[in-house]
Amino acid sequence: MKPRIGVYICHCGLNIANTVDVEQVREFARALPNIAIARNYTYMCSDPGQALITNDIRDLGLTHVVVASCSPRMHEPTFRATIHKAGLNPYVLEMANIREQCSWVHSDRTLATLKAMDLIASAVAKVAWLVPLQEREVKVTQSALVIGGGVAGLTAALDIANAGFQVCLVEKQPYLGGRIAQLDTTFPTRERVADLIAPLVREVTTHHNIHVITNADVEKVDGFIGNFRATIRARPTFVNAMKCDACAKCVDVCPVNLPDDFDANLTTRRAIYRAPDARFVIDARACTFVQDRVCRSDPRCVMVCDRNAIDFAQADQSIEVNIGAIIVATGAGTFDATKKPEFGFGAYPNVITSLQFERLAARQELQPVKDVVFVSCVGSRDATTGNTYCSRVCCMVNAKQARRIKEQFPGARVTVLYADVRAFGKGHEEFYDAVRQTGVRYRRGYVSEIFKRDRKMIVRAEDTLIQKPVEVQADLVVLGIGMTPRAETDEIANILGLPRSGDGFLLEIHPKLRPVETAVEGVYLAGACQGPKDIVDTIAQARAAASSALAPLCRGQVKIESATARVDEEVCAGCGLCVATCPYGAPALNARTGKARVNQVLCKGCGGCEAACPSKAIQVMQCTPRQVLSQIAVLV
């Protein structure tokens, strides 16, 4: 049967019609082979526009449809549904992109019109060869993997678990809580963080739907939305929690002393130590016995333990889990203040970071002070560090900590030196007002440098409001450090195939419309791994990620790609190049026949194998050699 093709040219308001002579294009299209009808219309995606297509399919008996409009990323699903409604298979549609690839990028109307004609002629040449394909669905493994046990991961895990699905929660550290476990209080409400996090952790660890694996890394993830398989490596703590009675004798005899990263390196700890969740663990990287089977104390920890709780025979465990959705909640790092040498961090013990301040406050170890200076934007909004973004929390952290000083040491002179104060969150501006009323002095100027004169620390800046350089004496300087992408972001991005934005954080698909989804279907982002965030925004995003992940889990089925690769076994020589080329592991050589076969569930239709196949035995539906060559034939 001869194909009867309809061509529909969209004006996109003036987006296309301003640059492309749509009427001339219509006349051109009308004269192409096998064309039953060619129309143009202001907005083809509108209801009346779509009605033009459905009516023509019915009245004129169209077999194939070409829509010349925007990118298929924008409206291919729309028009597939349109022709399906009128009884055609959704896959006998071809889009000609005359907006992004023509009208938007050209200014010469004559040439743009000619190009639009070429694009449409090529689409018409291809569409005649398109064959109907079946839409397919596969069953979903109704459980989720949450990577990261901070406030984002904990919240997301709880939401999914409370909806009745199993959750596997993997945390790198030996304890749950993440970054906020280090903090003293929140802003602007100044609640004790411990009061927030402890019930959350308890709820997660006791939830019957949540399986927590701490001290563990996600090593590998295969599969696709609805059907992922993750390999998790759980590292041993070398302490049997069932036997340990937390007497801490082991800690006293451990010869290894190292900076305690939980305390932001303010204190030291031993290789065996009491983790923040009060359980005793051995830090495998620090323990010389784990590393090299040598210990200066022989290892004494084993000898002094009355309950035989220490077990160096414990080994790594590899755990495989099948899940339908993945939430990445790996959090953010903190800016390394030594990268701003003018602030003297590392040179002066009384120059500390805001995170160190939190630890001192939480440990009730703030020392009496007379003159305190807070420095804003340390490592944020700063091209010299490469971190050009605003870290969004530091202004309020500065304000909260300044208030804490005023409260604890009312006589202290507290100065915040700032470039801008950003108090954009709910209750933030009011909090900023309240802090100023406690007598905290805000002076506008980004600190230039810190040095000593006559043994006193001098903070130098320009007070830009009085337009003069000023020197503020300080016995404590707190650097409001920003957030950075975690060092491990590369690792997790590679494992999951996630793109990153220019700032190094993980990238959402669309900043406004799809803020928790990633380029990988079924993988969602929560919290500061996607960009600097406070606790409020982190929890909101975690719950959004959980709700997005719940959609495929609840439905139980997901649609998969129909335009997949097929092997003509008659032609296949069994060379295996397709197997080596495929990033999704879809093709495999059949043991019996020696020929390649493509797993239709794993195949994404990318076409890599088709290009690699030397005997042209593989075709990707909707990109077959005949379809592509017919396009090329009209173009050259």
Partner: protein, 372 residues
């Protein structure tokens, strides 16, 4: 009237968020009305800007701290140089600059001394001309070549390089001003002439590498001569490498406590902090101590940016005097530096503060020579 729009585009001024980081860290801001942040704002506003009432523009030492620390990549120092250039172009050249600039054109040096006397510093040393095939050229700063107070440095470099068995030469009478200060004064045309002429002379003499005595010559060759093929080193880099390779050995003890002034053009502007310290720490018997303000937090001596020929708007206050006090705080009796300008300003400050008995300013080269 000044075309401010060109300046805005050329120096990335729209990036400025008026945070004041530049002015707060400006070494001369305690003694001058020069305010880089306010200057950027004025140019950004594009309103009438009257150049001649802005004598403070000549206070800038071009230490470049403002631009290096700017969180938005705006280059206030380059704006100041551009404004000076407009000033020079208008013909109203500050009186003390006229003779040095003319002499640089005619005699190849700003000290207003004859071109023929350029090599007098090397009398009796028998240094060969690099054109004879040495390849490695030692480049002497005009200050080192002509000013008797700092002629000892190139002589010391000759002796130290010889002790390390290096084959090297000089450009002889073909050597002339590098143009670093000329460019910073705003005499862009003269700078371009010197750049092209010097590059031509280096190539004609088949120079394969240049070692400079001054961080200013080093910086201009390395960063402002455009793309060229000749590797440039400041002598501290050369010596530190020779020590690391075992080619240069210090045998004589020096009983001194030494601290070190980072020249802005070597440290802040080019990140060379470790090499001079490595040399000083290799001196037998000497104790090396750091000032509080060191490396990225070091303080300017006030000698750069043409300030050797300009008193500035507030000559009563010398920031080098503070530096002497800071050096004394460390307990050092030697204040080392690696720049002829730093050497001169700091030496003057030792005398001005009456500390000749307590501390002596020395170039790293003089210390190295004494230890060989």
């Amino acid at each position: 009237m000044l075309d401010t729009q060109i300046l805005v585009e050329q120096y990335g001024l729209t990036a400025c968020i008026q945070c004041g980081k530049c002015t707060g860290g400006c070494p001369i801001s305690p003694k001058s009305t020069l305010n880089p942040r306010a200057l950027v704002y004025e140019i950004l506003r594009g309103e009438e800007f009257e150049l001649v009432s802005r004598g403070e523009l000549w206070d800038c030492t071009t230490c470049a701290t403002c631009g290096l620390r700017c969180p938005k990549g705006a280059k206030a120092v380059d704006l100041i140089i551009a404004l000076r250039a407009q000033w020079i172009e208008s013909g109203k050249i500050p009186a003390t600059l006229r003779a040095p600039l003319t002499a640089t054109l005619n005699q190849g040096n700003p000290l207003v001394l004859p071109r023929e006397d350029r090599s007098l510093w090397a009398d009796g040393l028998g240094v060969k001309n690099v054109a004879a095939g040495a390849g490695l050229a030692m480049f002497t700063c005009c200050e080192n070549a002509y000013d008797p107070r700092v002629q000892a440095m190139p002589r010391a470099l000759v002796n130290v390089l010889r002790a390390a068995n290096q084959d090297f030469g000089t450009l002889g009478l073909d050597e002339q001003c590098c143009g670093s200060e000329v460019r910073r004064i705003g005499e862009a045309g003269l700078f371009e002439y010197l750049r092209d002429d010097n590059l031509g002379k280096f190539r004609a003499a088949r120079v394969t590498k240049i070692i400079t005595t001054s961080p200013h010559c080093f910086n201009v060759f390395k960063n402002e001569y455009g793309k060229h093929e000749i590797p440039i080193e400041h002598y501290t880099q050369t010596l530190a490498q020779l020590i690391a390779d075992g080619a240069l050995k210090f045998l004589k003890k020096i009983d001194a406590t030494i601290t070190y002034q980072d020249p802005c053009f070597l440290g802040k502007q080019n990140g060379i902090y470790d090499e001079p310290r490595a040399i000083l720490k290799a001196i037998p018997g000497a104790k090396f101590v750091e000032m509080d303000r060191a490396r990225e937090r070091s303080a300017c001596c006030e000698g750069g940016g043409g300030r050797m020929w300009l008193e500035g708007s507030n000559p009563k206050v010398r920031i080098a005097n503070d530096r002497i006090a800071q050096a004394l705080e460390t307990g050092a009796n030697v204040l080392a530096t690696a720049c002829p300008f730093c050497f001169l300003t700091l030496s003057d400050a030792v005398i001005a503060t009456g500390n000749e008995e307590k501390i002596k300013v020395m170039d790293v080269l003089q210390i190295a020579q004494a230890a060989v």
